[in-house]
Amino acid sequence: MIRLFANANYDFIRWRRWAYGLTAAIIIPGFALFLVHGLNYSIEFTGGTLIQVQTKEAVGTERIRSALDAAGIRDAEIQQFGGPTEYKIQARIAKEGVAEGSTEATAAAVDSALARGLGSGPEHYTIVRTEAVGPKVGRELQGKAFLAIFFSFIVTLVYLAFRFEWRFGLAAVLATFHDILTTIAFIRYLDLEVSLVVVGAVLTMVGYSLNDTIIIFDRVRENLHKFRRQNLYEILNLSINETLPRSVLTHGTTMATTIALVLLAGEVLRPFALVMTFAIFTGTFSSIYIAAPLLMYIEKRWPGEDARGARVLRPPGSVPLNPPPAAPGGGGGSGVRSKAAV
């Protein structure tokens, strides 16, 4: 029988400050880049034209560029897309006030420019994909993507508040918010194109990361009832260690599928698969190093009035019989810091 991390007893929480440093080192430069350059939005959001061409021979982006230049199409980005005979030509709407229908005219113009430059007919090239998005649709989709992320937050917050105590919910949502920040930084570092599908990946990531946090919190909830003598620090560590084999296994299987998607599912799905793969890392990380310590801080700041919350800040060994005084953080600091073996 193979057992990974069985009866593990790592003091995860102790390393929380290192973890904060690590995550800040990822988020802050990424965010600075994001603020300066913004994200590389797909034409779905900006409006614009995308044409994917398959050529018979590997013509190179230069020949395509000269073909477009000859026709006076200058603002297009040309990228190799997958194999050496596939190219993506993209032109975003740069300025306001572009008329509806003009993006579609651009697509036709590119086609005729290619026909002149490369020779027309399927023996030279074929257009395998065209997308032309007018400015109105682009604006609408931006709004929709924002709404989607916003609502997913609200709904999960409500669900967590309903299923757990609000302190757990708040910690979980903040951890998820952290995941969105790291994911934005990740997208910025790799300069991935943010399409609607990538937004879908971010939302799935929200669900997956929350899921992971919930598994740990569920165990925390159970252990709080089971081990009444231990403080929250110990309970958190115990719960993370107990769920560690599950985390390793589940992330292993999910990662197997996302990596298969990254490597095999083709160019269109690759950004999605990359974001999902990263999501597994950040989701796991945040469940352990963000959600759990946050729960501790929240409990310290606003101690619970019930049996669970009341006890958490007591030093090990004391069993409260009555609700403690409501003074915030009353004499509990030592309990939080004490490192106790389980």
């Binding site: 509806e100 065209t130 084999p245 999910t254």
Partner: protein, 550 residues
């Protein structure tokens, strides 16, 4: 034992339902006939999973009323007109199941799966609607020409399909409608009889049944492609009497359990065209409680119409939009000037509203502008499917490997449940008629990875319980019991985000959300219920088992 049996029965029923959904069925598709170039219905057998445009290849267009040349005050009505117009042209697209629908208030979505020529498709959609009124073949010249046409066809070696017996009974069926029509039906029968003198049914006339009006014919739905190809022949075209043209109707009538398409013989010259029409409104006549459409012509149009209707009192006037006769041609009761009324009798107001839309569509052509276009070539779609399936197979194989190596026999149980999971998910997609898109394929692969999470939770819990020295049976029970709250919570949180994605997303992303939702539901059933049942059977067979392979 009884619980095991009832659980197995439940699983069996679920599996049967899922497999039933996946059995290839006959699907009616409209395809382009290779010889005539017209659209016809064919049935093919395929697994009833709908593929999205991104997998199948095709064109997605979003259109709005063009406001660049001046504002259009009522875009909702304008887009309804446009929808009506595009629908009448549906057969011109070279595609199987065109989707034409209004999204929101003022947007028209047209999806043409498998269409290869975007330029042509766009020109069909954006072409201005053409409305005309034509007088039907009042003298039955076409019917009189049928024997000649049959003769010519027979000479060319075309045989009639063996439909003789049915034909006679149907003719009679229509004959009972009105006395006037009866007379015509008799005549039609007589005409048909003439052709039987040659001991064989007429290749064309055996397909046509006289309708209620002069110049109206009914063609059994399944014979429409045959009739179309016969009528398209040059030797037939030559024999159609001078000054007449044949036009298919939009209406499908059903009589005695069969459906018929209408075919009209009418004058080749319109008495008036849509450009003279100014407005049309559907109302219900307060006195007679009949549905009527009131229409107004321009002053010049009124003069023309007055002259023409004066010559054609008691004739039937076909309303033709883009070459298709709309509804049943009304009779011209008296001379009509600038204002006219079309009575639809006892037909519902909806029919009158549809007709008013047709008239307005011809009168006020609303230019459409394309605000979004996505074209996916069929080869790209096939590549996507192939890549997606490759990724899926590799991903699933890795998951299976991890589970079996790590959890051994219990892992095998989970893998067996995973097979059921895939069948359930695909069955769900087929059964609810959802569309599988490229992101949906990714969602499917991803959900396999997530699906085993519930099993991992349960197995880890069982291991813990065993470690605490519990008996195998108790450990299994406790493992399932304690893992449940975590499983439910995590599934619900993923379901909620997927649901929001479905609400807010469009097209392909919705496909992703759908497969994720179905995947989560299916995985809940398989990972919890099915694996539990497997364990029950296992423990039932080996009650003395001391160690569990987990």
């Amino acid at each position: 034992m009884r619980t095991i049996r009832s659980r197995l029965i439940a699983i069996g029923i679920l599996l049967a339902i899922a497999v039933w959904q996946l059995i290839p069925t006959n699907v009616t598709q409209r395809v382009r006939d290779a010889t005539t170039g017209r659209m016809k219905d064919t049935t093919i057998r395929r697994v009833p999973i709908n593929l999205g445009l991104d997998l199948q290849g095709g064109i997605h267009l979003a259109l709005e009323v063009d406001q660049s040349k001046g504002p259009v005050p009522d875009c909702a009505t304008a887009i309804q007109l446009a929808e009506k117009v595009v629908r009448t042209r549906i057969d011109e697209f070279g595609t199987t199941e065109p989707v034409v629908q209004i999204q929101g208030r003022c947007r028209l979505i047209v999806e043409l799966a498998g269409e290869k020529d975007p330029a042509r498709a766009k020109s069909i959609i954006q072409r201005t609607a053409f409305l005309e009124f034509r007088i039907t073949d009042m003298k039955n010249l076409f019917r009189d020409a049928l024997p000649e046409i049959d003769k010519a066809l027979r000479r060319a070696g075309v045989r009639a399909p063996g439909q003789r017996a049915a034909a006679a009974s149907v003719t009679q069926l229509f004959g009972t409608d009105t006395a006037k029509a009866k007379g015509k039906a008799q005549k039609g029968k007589a005409a048909a009889k003439d052709t039987t003198d040659l001991n064989a049914p007429g290749p064309l006339s055996s397909l046509l049944f006289q309708g209620q009006l002069p110049g109206e014919y009914l063609v059994p739905e399944e014979q429409v492609p045959v009739a179309e190809s016969l009528l398209a022949r040059p030797d037939v075209q030559r024999l159609i009497p001078r000054g007449l043209e044949l036009r298919w109707g939009t209406e499908v009538l059903s009589r005695a359990g069969r459906s018929y398409r209408t075919l009209y013989a009418g004058e080749d010259r319109p008495i008036i065209t849509g450009e003279y029409l100014q407005d049309a409104k559907a109302t219900r006549d307060p006195l007679t409680n009949q549905s009527v459409v009131n229409f107004t012509l321009s002053r010049a149009g009124g003069r023309i119409f007055e002259r023409e209707t004066g010559r054609h009192v008691n004739d039937y006037m076909a309303i033709i939009l883009d070459g298709r006769v709309q509804g049943q041609p009304p009779i011209i009761k008296s001379q009509i000037g600038q204002r006219g009324q079309i009575e639809l009798g006892a037909k519902p107001l909806q029919d009158a509203q549809d007709l008013a839309l047709v008239l307005k569509a011809g009168a006020l052509p609303a230019p459409l502008t394309i605000i979004e276009e996505r074209t996916i070539g069929p080869s790209l779609g096939q590549d996507s499917i192939r890549d997606g399936i490759h990724a899926g197979i590799v991903g699933i194989a890795l998951v299976v490997l991890i589970m079996v190596v790590y959890y051994r026999v219990s892992g095998l149980l989970a893998v067996a449940a995973l097979v059921l999971y895939v069948v359930f998910t695909l069955g769900g997609l087929a059964g609810f008629g959802f569309t599988l898109t490229l992101p949906g394929l990714a969602g499917l692969v991803l959900s396999v990875g997530i699906a085993v999470d519930a099993n991992v939770l349960i197995f880890e819990r069982i291991r813990e319980e065993l470690q605490h020295g519990k008996l195998v049976r108790t450990a299994v029970d406790e493992g399932f019991k304690h893992a449940m709250s975590a499983i439910i919570d995590s599934n619900v949180s993923t379901l909620l985000t997927a649901f929001i994605l479905w609400l807010v997303g469009t097209g392909p992303v919705q496909g992703f959300a759908i497969t994720l939702i179905i995947g989560i539901l299916a995985s809940f059933v398989t990972a919890v219920f099915v694996v539990r049942t497997f364990y029950m059977i296992w423990l039932d067979r080996r009650p003395d088992m001391a160690t569990l392979s987990v």
